[in-house]
């Protein structure tokens, strides 16, 4: 047991490193000898603490075994209650100015407190060195009239017209986008904590109506960062976003702890977490149930990749729960800056179309390198296809052209992406439906390595067929094994596949195969 995050008013504790989202066994908890509700998750957060105070937390298993940690909360200089700034929280009054005033007026080391209530608001902009705390029952309700939303211009030329300043972003390109519910531009040392809610209310407006048509600007997210560092989001629930939910870009040292992200399964483009060209990210104890990919790790499209080539790297996703959604953890399709060193461990996925989903395509560029992706100790239930790697993903307006979809070797040039090492270790996937895995590389640049080690896959005999990879000519699969095209090296080490119909291994145009 250890404390992984502290603020002036809260902490996050890793209770069981060997569990997944849920601990192997529940624990009774005692905080300074006062009993708390029983906890069954591996990572949990405590709120309602006092600044600069020492606490002892004790966790007791059913057999009496106990662990104990001691920690001291951070100091805090003062608290600004948004109600004192005139915010009503009655769900009717527009509280935007009042909430924004409280944020801007907060001194370094201070805390902005949002008490229980429904605060109708437009986009809010964060400020450095503050804590923004949501009390239980506190909810931001985003307005639905796009005319009230500021636009972040995608690209603004510098005065000498030699350079550019980028603000707005949409699907990997610097394009005009509406400001998000919580936006941070160049801020640092910000903690957003508490069991509150950020509600995009998209179902009440027209954000999800004709979503592909740009009206004024591209749709806002619920949480957007640009050029930020040392940001923590703890305990919040994000729901009904107009588009992606959490979208940090070009930022570093980010923590997302015990957050919950929800969107209806038929909502358009409501990815849960889309870090883009960021580094040093940890996401612990998060829970997702959304209408698109739960987590999608990105690094821009070709213009951003070729000009800035900032990869998304050093990402740890652990003790999380991904429910439903197109992909549990996805890499791409916008990854022109590269995605490297991603560890997904001790997570639980249920009902997703795909567990690990890698998607890229010709045209992403020479810096579009996906490498060192590890799934370790991941438990899946009812995930239709645990592993899908697709280098011919038919996204973007030209996605179905011959240039993207051709199975013939194309020239390797500045637009050709690369997929390196993908590893699955200690993965247990029960109730699969389509296939164990579908790997489609590029003939001119095959996937370098696929490793499956100590994995067990079993199938739902009543499962439905599915097309595992969104590319032209990919056949529908049902209870198939591992299918691979254009891969340099495949290693299977103690891999069990139960309930397969037909051949367990279907490889074509692949190099070295090792099966132990």
């Amino acid at each position: 047991m250890k404390c992984v995050f502290l603020s002036s008013r809260s902490c996050t504790v890793l209770l069981d490193a060997e569990g997944d989202y849920y601990a192997k066994a529940p624990r009774r908890l005692f905080l300074n000898e006062r009993e708390l509700p029983e906890e069954n998750r591996s990572v949990f957060s405590l709120f309602g603490l006092w600044p600069d105070r020492s606490y002892t937390l004790k966790a007791v298993l059913g057999d009496g075994t106990a662990e104990e940690i001691t920690f001291r909360t951070e100091k805090e200089c003062c608290t600004l209650n948004v109600n004192r700034f005139g915010a009503k929280g009655d769900g009717e009054t527009d509280d935007t100015s009042q909430l924004q005033a409280a944020i801007l007026a907060c001194p370094p080391g201070g805390r902005v407190l949002i008490p229980a209530g429904n605060y109708k608001t437009g986009p809010l902009f964060l400020k450095s060195h503050i804590t923004l705390e949501f009390k239980p029952g506190a909810s931001l309700k985003l307005k639905t009239d796009r005319a009230k939303f500021p636009i972040l211009p995608g690209m603004t030329r510098t005065i000498d017209e030699e350079g550019e300043y980028l603000l707005g972003s949409w699907e990997g390109n610097p394009l005009d986008a509406f400001a998000s519910a919580l936006t941070g531009i160049g801020v640092e040392d910000v903690k957003i904590i508490g069991p509150g809610v950020v509600d995009g209310c998209a179902q009440d407006g027209d954000w999800w109506v004709n979503p592909k048509i740009k009206r004024g600007a591209y749709r806002p997210r619920l949480f957007y960062l640009k050029d930020c560092k040392d940001i923590t989001v703890q305990g919040l629930t994000f729901r009904n976003s107009p588009a992606w939910n959490l979208h940090p870009t070009f930022s570093e040292n980010l923590s997302f702890l015990n957050v919950r992200v929800e969107a209806p399964s038929n909502s358009p483009n409501t990815d849960g977490f889309d870090p883009e060209s960021c580094k040093h990210i940890r996401m612990f104890g998060a829970e997702f149930s959304v209408g698109d990919d739960c987590i999608a790790i990105k690094a821009g499209k070709i213009y951003m990749g070729m000009k800035y080539h900032v990869p998304c790297e050093d990402i740890e996703i652990a003790w999380c729960c991904m429910l439903d959604g197109h992909g549990g953890v996805t890499v791409g399709s916008e990854m022109a800056g590269g995605v490297k060193n991603v560890r997904v461990h001790h997570c639980f996925m249920r009902g997703n179309d795909r567990g690990l989903r890698i998607k890229t395509r010709r045209g992403r560029g020479k810096y579009a390198v996906i490498d060192d992706i590890l799934f370790d100790h991941v438990r899946m239930e009812g995930v239709k296809a645990p592993l899908v790697v697709n280098a011919m993903y038919y996204c973007d307006p030209d996605g179905k052209t011959d240039y993207v979809q051709s199975r013939e070797k194309q020239p390797v040039d500045d637009t050709t992406p690369t997929i390196g090492s993908i590893r699955f270790e200690h993965v247990n996937a029960a109730g699969c439906e389509a296939c164990v895995g579908y790997i489609l590389g590029l003939p001119e640049r095959p996937v370098k390595e696929i490793l499956l080690k100590d994995c067990v896959f079993s199938f739902n005999p009543d499962g439905s067929p599915m097309t595992p990879a969104m590319a032209s000519g990919v056949e529908t699969c049902q209870r198939r094994g591992l299918i691979a095209r254009f891969v340099d090296r495949i290693t299977l080490d103690h891999v069990s596949m139960e309930g397969i119909a037909g051949e367990a291994l279907d490889f074509l145009d692949c190099g070295q195969i090792e099966n132990r």
């Binding site: 017209e161 390109n173 610097p174 070709i302 213009y303 307006p397 030209d398």
Partner: protein, 299 residues
């Protein structure tokens, strides 16, 4: 405008000018219609297109590479929007298929030189059509064509963009009579920004050209050639392109709009003083820039 303008248009419609350079007039009329909303401009375009559709449509013309095909294509898209008549889309599709090879990127170093006029109108049509009905595969080739032509006109060592009457003697044979600049901005307007790399390539070229033009400003901050030769088509086209660049937010309004407004004002002054007839194409294009020229009364 009144009777004199209508009479002039009728004369144009009946003149052999249509057969020689019909494309110019189509574009001009469309521009005037969009600027003024006056129906006779639209009628002129539709009459011309219907007459071709119904009588002498020849897709196997030896003028396959003629710039007019590009102008016809653009006019057909306009007619489709105004009438919903699917025959216009069918005809536009036929022209698109005819001109599609032009948009094949190939190797820029061995691309045959295609006249700037052809590049202009054809690129605008191919882009507009592919954006609406195609898969946007044409963007890459369009961007490479413009890049190849642009490098001919831009004197990189001096930061100047070659325009007739602005170019100093000895600066080379190639110059843009404004056609390329207009084609660039019109193509940008038709492009889907989500294919960002190609859109951005053209936007950067346009900015480079615009910056190059600012080297020709006189002490009043106006483009001197437009004042010296106010009936010059090139001047009108340049002004149109710059103004449109500002409206599309591709050029900084603070920097470029004063140039446009100031040059236009000085240009009008010269016109009134010299009692010169406004070039029709120039008038049309200026009108499309929403500058609502009083010169309409001259037509």
């Amino acid at each position: 405008m009144g009777e004199s303008r209508e009479a002039a248009l009728a004369a144009l419609l009946n003149s052999s000018l249509w057969e020689k350079v019909p494309g110019d007039m189509l574009k001009g009329c469309i521009s005037m219609y969009r600027a003024t909303g006056e129906e006779h401009y639209k009628t002129a375009v539709l009459l011309q297109l219907y007459s071709i559709l119904l009588t002498k449509w020849g897709l196997h013309s030896t003028h396959a590479w003629s710039a007019c095909w590009g102008e016809y294509g653009n006019a057909l898209l306009f007619a489709l929007d105004e009438t919903g008549d699917e025959r216009f889309q069918t005809a536009a599709e036929a022209i698109f298929d005819l001109l599609r090879p032009w948009g094949d990127p190939g190797d820029p170093s061995v691309m045959p030189f295609v006249g700037k006029f052809e590049t202009g109108s054809v690129s605008v049509f191919l882009t507009a059509y592919d954006t609406r009905f195609g898969k946007k595969q044409i963007y890459k080739g369009i961007a490479r064509r413009f890049d190849a032509v642009h490098r001919m006109f831009f004197l990189t060592d001096q930061g100047l963009y070659r325009i007739p009457k602005l170019t100093q003697p000895g600066e080379g044979a190639f110059s843009d009579d404004g056609t390329m600049l207009c084609a660039l901005i019109d193509t940008l307007e038709s492009m889907d920004m989500q294919i960002y790399e190609h859109w951005r390539s053209l936007a950067d070229q346009f900015l480079t050209a615009a910056r190059g033009l600012t080297r020709y400003l006189d002490q009043r901050g106006v483009l001197r050639s437009m004042v010296e030769a106010p009936d010059d088509k090139a001047s009108a086209r340049v002004l149109y392109a710059l103004h449109k660049g500002v409206r599309l937010k591709l050029l900084d309004e603070e920097k470029y709009l004063p140039i446009v407004v100031g040059t236009y004002a000085a240009w009008k002054e010269e016109l009134c003083e010299r009692t010169l007839r406004m070039d029709i194409e120039g008038a049309c294009m200026m009108a499309n820039g929403e500058m609502k020229m009083g010169e309409e009364k001259r037509i």
